[in-house]
Amino acid sequence: MPSLKDLKNRIDTVKSTRKITKAMQMVAAAKLRRAQEAAEAARPYAERFNAVLGGLAASAQEAGQGPKLLLGTGSDQVHLLVVMTAERGLCGGFNSSIVKLARTSIDELERAGKTVKILTVGKKGREQLKRDHEDKFVGHVDLSEVKRLGYANAQDIAKDVLARFEAEEFDVAKIFYSKFESVISQIPTEQQVIPATFEEGETAGGAPTFYDYEPSEEGILAELLPKAVATQIFAGLLENAASEQGARMSAMDNATRNAGDMIDRLTIQYNRSRQAVITNELIEIISGAEAL
């Protein structure tokens, strides 16, 4: 039986924990709004970009010729997985669910006899993958110093990936991130970026326009494909940022509620033991008086 003082201390501890989680939840809510706005603002560019590139890519694919970034190297032996996670924890299952998806994918590829290389973005994913897959790490991008996610961050990652592709270090590249659905639901997603893939049917609206190309179709394609990698990574990073804050918000909301429940339980226990002490003292006094 813990003493009254112990109970009092525990209640105080849990109370301050609740204050912290409450604060974190509110900070996450504010950051979530900003992250969502950023993701929203980036959408027009990505949509238009994909519409134009999708049209170009489709015709190049039909012709069966084009840059390697579009058609692949003709092999799919070596896979590069870009695993994008958060720099910080305390956000529920956010990091773990991305890592879990990446792990499943790694296992599948290895069973199929492929070589897997991993590029991690964000500290948390790296820590989790380290135990089983450290030998596959080829690089790491640290975003912990980044206050506000910009296109430049995505460009740096894309540059790294493209340089490796040029050096023929891999054949297929995929990114892993979490798609933001809502505060309570973030969906870990796997997306292939090299060779480029496009969602079909996006350009289906209305009659197709036949464009003139300046300089040439191939020229534009060659210039746009590397940018497409950066655009996709950027979109992934933004989704991830929103998901992270959303996950943290609901995790902290839960934590706050749990702390509240715990305080209630401890308070009841505290009051009971206090009452027990009082009753005890009364009995002692009364039986003392009776003995006289």
Binding site: A42, Y45, R48, A154, Y211, Y213, E214, G219, I220, T231
Partner: protein, 131 residues
Amino acid sequence: MADTMQFDLVSPERMLASYQASEIRIPGVEGDMTAMPGHMPVITTLRPGVLHVEGSEGTQEFVVSGGFAEISATATSVLAEQAIPRAEVTRDFIDELRREAEAAHEAAEPHEKDATAKALSDLAQLAEDMV
């Protein structure tokens, strides 16, 4: 024929402008071109330069670092990697672009030297225009 067309300027991070315009001068890789309503559909890549828009909100100018433009009879979308209203362009921004272009020029293969040298001279021109 309508005398204005929809003009959109978007960068990866946000939408910078979206309104009706009557005339848009675009710094294409193969030379400047002016898009007006009823223009033939064209997709062109951009070189670093000044984008000049005559529109419902008066004349606006943006400095773009590259990207591409999609022109059709009724709309023009410019997708720029970086775009800044001309008045807000700083020396540092241009210098930064030049440094990048120089690095690219150094690293380029012999057969690409033409293109990178051109990008470099475009930027030099841009820097002069800004002064």
